[in-house]
Amino acid sequence: MNDADVDAERPNGKPILEAAGVVKRFGGIRAVNGATLDVREGSITALIGPNGAGKTTFFNVVTGFYRPDGGRAAFQGDQILGARPHAIARLGMVRTFQITKALARMPVIDNMTLAAPDQPGERLLNVIAHPRRVRRREAEVREQAIELLEVFDLARVADDYAGTLSGGQRKLLELARALMTRPRLLLLDEPMAGINPTLGRRLLDHMQRLRADEGVSFLFIEHDMGVVMNHSDRVIVMAEGRVIADGEPHEVRTDQAVIDAYLGSGTVVEDERA
């Protein structure tokens, strides 16, 4: 058992993402209204809540896509609130989008190789001055990309335009592409939506494996309570722009505020592991 496994067994490790009092206003509406939450290192944390609770807006603020109107957020100790998205992504906190952003007029393989970090050939000077270094890195990157595409059953379509993929395949491509960046924390916005259950299970298995093998942490927005209760070790609940509960799945499930705001009293969640 390696260190990452120990972390997985002990989900109260140190926080990798700490957000405090995050505010985002649109006109008079406070979409995120003082959200405070921690994502623990090595955890698979679910972010749930009713529509309009501010979950996606929170993602957009902490990943730099929206300018914050207040609050603080630190990733691995670095202050990130207000930084540009690319800078935050390079620190190792990478997000996917609710509406997939497959780069349609690029082949699947280029979607993947694009995401790899440390490609000297992304600087024009190196393209001209160090073509060998660029080619060598490109070969490595391509190999990693094919491996990952195989995991997500996309290797067969590697040379097709990403725009020809089905909705579910695009979701998987976006996740695989995010993984190419070698992230420390992945923010997934409804990763299961629109993909078939078999692939969904595969995706969840892969998340578990990444956490175990490489210590990657996850924060994911999800509406399927079965997935949330059985596949996450922390659950954070948002409503009306604030965090109203934070705890292990069984704690959150029985929390009266959560039941009132989101789950409803009639909700029965089967425990698959039972």
Partner: protein, 337 residues
């Protein structure tokens, strides 16, 4: 009957001799080459970075004016003025890029056209620097040195080489034609080389979805600035060549129409293809200039109007039968929607 006999009348009132008028076609070839350069820069911006840049005429104007002013007013040699003017045009390209940080596609397009027009209107009014509506050509009202003296000498030398190669009486525009198209081919090969690199891949990602590229750690603003800077450098050379071709630098030669013609070239050739730009430029200027010789018994102003009508018709026919342009990829066009 020999083919060059001017008495041969073709249908539509065309005469055969214009096909064999090498002087005329050299002029068309130079213009096609200049517009190919402008459109190569646009291809980089529009076709590969997804930036709707309508400021191409501004890049040319800044390049041409900077060159002429450096030579005539600052005493630079012609050859030194070229790289310096190119750097000034790059600076202008970066200025054009600044609004792209905040503006989305259509607003950015308006900002670029405004900046290009600003350059032209300043040129029209800053008489002491730019000669205003007189334009720039030679110092001291035509008596002194001209900005293109060094080129005229080189052109004569090249004519000599052509003669020694067996062309007994080369056209006076032949040297410019050759140099322009050497630049066009060089720029095409260079652009294709960098486009195939990981750098070029980031540009295409920005074209597809800028947010996705940012989310993957790409500093998209820097890439967009680079795209514009390269287009500006190429556009500056198009401006130099236009200044040599026309032997004057005049504000009327840098109207937005220049940019729109370059877009015509781009559409004919097809998006996301550098070779397409070359084919598009040749076709565009062949149609536009070839139609000068249509007879129909029309007077000159009617023919002038008819020529643009024919160019428009050609574009419409193309859009109907080959909407992706001559070299564009149909799949890319369909998937882009």
């Amino acid at each position: 009957m020999p083919a060059h006999d001017p008495s041969v009348i073709l249908p539509l009132g065309l005469t055969l001799n214009f096909f064999t008028d090498t002087g005329f076609w050299s002029g068309v070839g130079v213009l096609a080459g200049i517009y190919a350069l402008v459109a190569l820069g646009l291809q980089l911006n529009v076709g590969y970075t997804g930036m709707t840049n309508f400021g191409a005429a501004g890049f040319m104007a800044v390049g041409a004016y900077a060159m002429a002013i450096l030579v005539l007013k600052a005493g630079f040699s012609f050859w030194l003025s070229l790289p310096v003017a190119m750097l000034i045009a790059i600076g202008f390209g970066l200025l054009v890029g600044l609004p792209s940080l905040r503006l989305r596609a259509d607003y950015f397009a308006i900002a670029t056209i405004a900046l290009a027009e600003t350059v032209r209107i300043i040129a029209q009014n800053a008489d002491s620097l730019t000669g205003g509506n007189q334009g720039l050509f030679c110092a001291e009202g035509g008596a002194g040195a001209c900005y293109n003296d060094a080129w005229t000498n080189l052109s004569t030398t090249i004519e000599g080489w052509l003669q020694s190669l067996g062309w007994t009486n080369p056209e006076s525009l032949a040297p410019l034609l050759i140099v322009v198209w050497l630049f066009v081919v060089g720029a095409t090969l260079g652009l294709r080389f960098i486009q195939k690199s990981p750098w070029g891949r980031v540009l295409r990602a920005i074209r597809e979805d800028e947010d996705a590229a940012e989310a993957l750690g790409k500093h998209t603003f820097v890439y967009k600035l680079q795209s514009l800077a390269i287009a500006a450098a190429i556009g500056a050379f198009a401006g130099f060549f236009l200044a040599l071709d026309l032997a004057t630098v005049h504000p009327l030669d840098y109207e937005p129409l220049v940019t729109f013609f370059a877009y015509g070239v781009l559409v004919l050739g097809g998006l996301a293809s550098y070779w397409g730009v070359l084919a598009g430029a040749v076709l565009f200027w062949t149609i536009l200039e070839g139609t000068r010789f249509i007879g129909f018994g029309l007077d000159d102003t009617q023919i002038a109007a008819l020529r643009f009508f024919i160019v428009g018709l050609a574009l419409i026919v193309l859009m109907v039968f080959r909407p992706q342009g001559m070299f564009g990829k149909r799949e890319e066009m369909v998937l882009g929607e």
